[in-house]
Subunit: 320 residues, 3 copies
């Protein structure tokens, strides 16, 4: 502790130029004091930068001509896709390998083979993914009066981007890849404000409008034709703790939305046993921690009664 | 369908290295099965990357010395702006050209001329834009006790950035440019969490504090001296459908805020016929789908009655 | 004003190619009409790009092996850190110098010395910062059932990133650096949707889950073991104005949360005199502008009564 005397604020006693070696020794010493916050001596860690590159290339594969290389025709599409797929298998394998090694004690050789196979299997699922994503574009177009074209949705809509990344990440999670799915959805979260946990289960024709502030928890189940607006939380209610007061992991903690459900802006729906029955609608700003029957409208109890209107003194001086 | 047998999960039957050509054929085949999710054989699409570069250069033009090239004085300002404007006219024309061609069947030559004229007309409006943006800085400084200087607002405030991009995008929309305005505001949305549709109509001295989670819909009308906080939605209430059950596009679906209105955090205001009268204030977390008179305070009906206080058992073991 | 005749929309009178010099003159003239929106003739302004680079390097110093250079072991850690620290002192000094010169009339030489000393003092505080950040990782792991490992939190969690940047920015603010702290937290705000003002005071073991839409105001005080969910605002209630109607700056405007408080999603808590007593919990969507005693549960008053359930006509035609 002797070296730490300069750590606290002593305005008159700021460190000098030639204190640098001492400052460095103190920082290195702080690494030895705990094992959580560094990875010195560790070999494997997936690269977020590389994983973001992979996602960008996957979008080129999923929506050719929209993203990346743009002058595509029947004469060159096979070459373009072959080249892209070949590169993706290698890049994906490498990152999956790191994710597998990082999380397990398996031998490296086994991880490497497994990674390669998962990458190939993922590519085999691309046509399926494209089908799901096509249905999502159509749902967005049907659900948003402001949508001008399919291209605008694919090209501009943040909710559509978040769903695309979720569908990719969810496949990888199903294929047994640790870490990478979460890195992907957190990247989309950062760009769109929509946080969909890769573990959530989401049906066909899903649409999120405006996207900002949406949270969809790990054990959420969502049916087909569901539409969600900005600020909606599908979250956990409270956490079951074990006898030592530690939160028990792995339980269903998030709601279920059945087919044809719409949730309007800023509604909060909580709890693993909460089921919103099919064809129901939940209004804006509603807080719900119980199930509702199919074909139910849930709204704030007469919003006009819920607020108070008070007349300001008029004649106050206006700024301008 | 024969080739798709490997698509579903068969853990024991993962694809091998030399399956790659088959996987590629399957992916290419999936492009032929629908026309929405690719642009193979199409020529024109605006570039988001280029449009983002244009926005960055426009900020240099709007706020010289703040962004981009920094050592500016009277001796070089004319050269700097001339050079920047010349480049911007070319870059803007090129992207507007793609947006026009992409969206219409006009001849390419006509689109190219029109694009060039629009780019020049946009530059002619820059002094006007700067006036509006100056008033917005002043409104931010007056409205936020945490603001330390004009520079801090221009340089750091996400709400100010979102408004800047909106004002640029709105001009371009008025000049008849498709697609590009939305690409611009969605870029700002991604960086700030504020989603202002370029079609919204917004008056002078507009201020958005904290910015995250704000949604301002396409047909919103906002007067002068309006202040909005984080999480506010000015949204659509419900959608009018035609006899075939399809949403009718183009109606006024979003609220009107008259002059001197303030909307506090996380309030949701919905509906095309909802008018918040001038000099009114809407409190935090209020949900409103009806009009209010000028000079009205709207708040949650006694928030202290709206919540329940329950005493926890004390003496529970604390963690630390 | 003579030159501005082309500014307003005259579809038939769009500017031509050779109008460019005139357009440029008009833009330059608009710079002379106000002093707020340009910095022509000014020398000092911090660089946001450089400050973002500094933050990235600081993360490498705080979490070695996680970010940046990855193959670290006992044999090279001292060299790596020495090199990084040396570069950081220089880069930090340079940017702090610009921030100090920009904001004061001190002589440049004095600013340069002061900047260097602050940079060194900041490095001296790194071990302390690492301790605080380790406690924050542990709090995240204890508080989130979906957390798979410490690494996942450090590597992926946006709330953890926002807290890391806040703790860096807060130290720099305490050391008297203007502008830079806010640039840092606004960068984190942009990436995470969490807006923590660098002036806020936050205790140990702080956790923000999901992060999007959180606002923590400048004069907020937060104790130890506090947990906050997405969409929570700790904000200002209303602003005290002086006799000229201008907002008075510098007062405590934001709430105090004592130890062991949890605030669930989308709750809004306002006011400088609002104190949430220790070991209290505030439920989702609650709006609160008054203090509560220690050991209190605050929830919406029976949410089942607060909403209205209405049965839709069934048998309506479903889309699919």
């Amino acid at each position: 502790m002797a070296d730490r005397k300069s750590e606290k604020k002593h305005e008159g006693n700021l460190p000098k130029e030639d204190d640098l070696p001492k400052l460095v020794r103190n920082i290195v010493a702080s690494y030895h004091r705990d094992q959580i916050t560094h990875r010195i001596g560790e070999t494997f860690l997936p690269s977020r930068g590389k994983i973001v590159e992979i996602m960008d290339e996957l979008r080129q594969l999923l929506f050719p001509g929209y993203f990346g290389h743009k002058v595509l025709g029947q004469h060159n599409i096979q070459f373009h896709v072959g080249n892209l797929a070949d590169h993706l298998v290698r890049a994906l394998s490498e990152q999956i390998f790191h994710c597998l090694c990082y999380s397990s004690d398996s031998e490296h050789h086994a991880c490497r083979n497994q990674a390669r196979q998962i990458a190939l299997e993922f590519l085999a699922r691309v046509p399926q993914l494209r089908k799901a994503l096509k249905l999502d574009v159509e749902a967005a177009c049907d659900g948003d009066p402001a949508a001008k074209s399919f291209a605008e949705i694919i090209y501009c809509y943040p909710g559509y981007y978040a769903i695309t990344v979720y569908r990719i990440a969810h496949e990888l999670l199903e294929l047994g890849v640790p870490m990478m799915p979460r890195i992907m959805t957190e990247h989309a979260h950062s760009l769109t404000g929509t946080d969909i946990h890769p573990g959530a289960s989401i049906g066909k024709r899903f649409f999120i409008d405006h996207a900002t502030g949406v949270v969809i928890g790990e054990t959420t189940i969502i049916g087909n034709n569901v539409k969600i607006y900005q600020g909606v939380t599908l979250g956990a209610h409270s956490f079951t703790k074990d006898e030592r007061g530690r939160i028990i992991k792995g339980l269903k903690r998030h709601p279920t939305l059945e087919d044809n459900v719409t949730i309007y802006a800023n509604a909060t729906i909580l709890g693993g046993e909460t089921v919103i029955g099919n064809d129901s609608t939940v209004g804006g700003n509603v807080f719900l921690n119980m199930s509702v029957e199919p074909y139910t409208y849930v709204s704030l109890d007469d919003p006009t009664l819920n607020v108070k209107l008070r007349r300001k003194k008029t004649g106050r001086k206006k700024k301008q």
